[in-house]
């Protein structure tokens, strides 16, 4: 029995349901080209903004214990004008390359998105886990921590571009399902979740945080159960919102957070994800995509599934009520 691992996401054909997550090995043409041979079905770039950024002082990364990574890189990037030159070197790469974009305000998101569309990109990932310029209730917030701010960013982009956009949600919220619905209502064509979880590590002898920017985001295998829960919540919230006609269609949900194996891919598919992204796990093994996809194939052969959509959502009946 032939197993068909192919997935189509927002019109893009992928040979398997894995994507390189944003922020990992995706910031230069050379590295993206190298990763295009890693076995991933598609590559998502480092998040690119309106102007060059150096990022935060170090340490930008800390690994306080096994399976726990904290990062506060600070969105270092060369700005969209320089980065588009790097992308243009990759026209011969066979797998989809999806730019991740961000901005300091909705207009900036739209400018970067339009430039990427003009440069030939067919799908964008929108990183809303970046700071909103205005405080709410006296607190600094991310765009993705508010339904209105998320919808505003999404609408601003959709007013400028025709290509589909996938919005990557922050888990640092109470009701991620509501943020997802707001994004889809604003015009999002897909949702990816989750970005990193806000975290902190303290050095006991130095009596200070380890990360240069003090707070950071947690990723790695330790967050997988949280990511899984959030993805399930998003899939079910979109379902309910469609039933209640709050939105007129559901959209694909891409799962990310702590994936290191074929079984992990299956876990996310079972709670309704269409495909997945892998990032932090590449730290220990750059060939992980090949290994995970092989394991996924073996699972499908064992369970008698011959396409990815056969697995999708099979665990959700337990979670619907």
């Amino acid at each position: 029995m032939q197993v068909d691992l192919r997935v189509k996401l927002c019109g893009l054909e992928m040979q398997n349901p894995t994507m390189l997550a944003s922020g990992v090995l995706g910031g230069t043409a050379g590295i993206l080209r190298r990763m295009s041979k890693s076995g991933a079905g598609a590559l998502i770039t480092k998040s690119i903004g309106p102007v060059p950024r150096d990022g935060y002082p170090g340490p930008p990364i800390d690994e306080p214990m096994e399976n726990v990574l904290l990062n506060a890189m600070g969105l270092p990037n060369p700005g969209y004008e320089e980065f588009i030159k790097e992308l243009q070197e990759l026209d011969d790469v066979k797998i989809p390359i999806i730019p991740s974009i961000f901005g300091g305000k909705p207009e900036e998101f739209a400018i970067v998105a339009k430039a990427m569309e003009d440069a030939g990109s067919k799908l964008l990932e929108v990183n809303v886990s970046c700071p909103h310029p205005e405080k709410r209730n006296g607190e600094k917030e991310l765009f993705g921590q508010s339904e209105e701010a998320t919808a505003e960013v999404v609408s601003a982009i959709k007013n400028q571009v025709k290509i589909p956009i996938m919005v990557k949600l922050s888990p640092n919220v109470t009701h991620i399902g509501k943020i997802a619905v707001a994004a889809v209502d604003g015009g999002a064509d897909a949702i990816s979740a989750i970005n990193t979880i806000e975290a902190l590590e303290i050095q006991p002898t130095l009596k200070r945080p380890v990360l240069g920017n003090l707070l950071g985001g947690q990723s790695g295998a330790s967050i997988r159960p949280i990511a899984l829960r959030k993805v399930a919540n998003i899939v079910l919230s979109l379902e309910k919102a469609k039933e209640k006609r709050k939105i007129d269609k559901t959209v694909p949900v891409v799962g990310v957070g702590g994936i290191c194996s074929g079984e992990d891919i299956v876990r996310f598919l079972l709670v309704g994800a269409k495909c997945v992204q892998i990032g932090t796990a590449l730290k220990d093994d750059m060939f992980l995509f090949k290994k995970c996809v092989d394991e996924l194939k073996q699972y499908m052969e064992r369970e008698g599934y011959n396409k990815i959509s056969d697995i999708q959502g099979k665990a959700l009946e337990w979670l619907r009520h």
Partner: protein, 280 residues
């Protein structure tokens, strides 16, 4: 092994010249098991607080984590030889004995210790990791010929030690204030003809190493180079330390002539903190 900084105490500080100091570092928690460093390895050095220990909003311009070659190793203690070139190294230079720094490492790959007649070529602060190399080579059966260069005699570092560990030492300075006047690479043909080396090790300004690479390829002689690039994460995930499709932090920092001959960016361009390419 998790990548988290371990605290080391500054055990000893030796001033090498106006801008360069060697720090001997002793790990605080002796129950930590660290692998023995090999020549070519580096550490991620965390300078965690201002020398004054006073917190202010300017702290974020000063404290940082930077890659640093291991310039010596003895009885569990690591030596780093640091040139004062920017905010963070400037702050480290104000640290006294007894202060703590954070260290992740030893990291990276190492020099492949092979060959019988070795030519070691160091330029400026690039001599630092080569000191550890020649000290280690002393325990092997091989001849070591060291070519040390700098802009001026004051910039030559670790010369007394290099002399101890080398069979011959040849010095050049751009301004002629020590040794032969000229670039270190001007002496390559002469030394090659005289000593007939079978392996080259080099570290220094990238333009210097590029000339050494071209020389080694023209003479069909294997060569190994210690490279540097701006590093953010140091663990091979952010990709900002890349040179073409190689990661200096993870695939390097040591690269051989066979690899570098196909690397377009070598000697030409490097990336800044934002990832923007600039000419070397």
């Amino acid at each position: 092994m998790v990548d988290t900084p371990k605290l080391y105490k500054i055990k000893d500080i030796k001033r090498e010249n106006k801008l360069v100091k060697t720090y001997w570092l002793e790990i605080l928690n002796k129950t930590n098991i660290i692998s023995t460093p090999k020549p070519g390895n580096y550490v991620m050095l965390w300078v965690p607080e201002p020398a004054s220990k006073k917190f202010s909003k300017h702290v974020f311009d000063i404290v940082d984590q930077i890659p640093m070659s291991i310039s010596d190793f003895d009885h569990g203690n690591i030596a780093i030889t640091v040139k004062n070139v920017g905010h963070t190294t400037n702050e480290l230079h104000k640290y006294n004995k007894g202060r703590y720094v954070g260290i992740i490492g030893p990291k990276g790959n190492s020099f492949n210790l092979t060959g019988k007649k070795l030519l070691v070529i160091g330029g400026g602060i690039g001599i630092a990791p080569l000191r550890f190399l020649v000290k280690t080579l002393k325990t092997r059966k091989c001849k070591v010929h060291f070519l040390a260069g700098a802009t001026t005699s004051e910039e030559l570092i670790l010369i007394d030690e290099i002399k101890k560990y080398s069979d011959t030492l040849h010095i050049t300075t751009d301004d002629g204030s020590a040794g032969v006047k000229g670039l270190v690479t001007d002496m390559l043909q002469e030394i090659y003809d005289d000593k007939k080396p079978d392996q080259i090790f080099s570290c220094g300004p990238e333009k210097m190493m590029k000339t050494v690479l071209e020389f080694s390829l023209a003479h069909n002689m294997p060569a190994q180079f210690s490279l540097e690039r701006f590093m953010h994460c140091g663990i091979g995930v952010c990709g900002f330390c890349s040179i073409s499709d190689l990661l200096v932090c993870r695939d390097g920092p040591i690269f051989d002539s066979n690899t570098l001959k196909d690397v377009n960016e070598f000697g030409k361009v490097r990336r800044k903190a934002s990832g923007i390419l600039e000419k070397i």
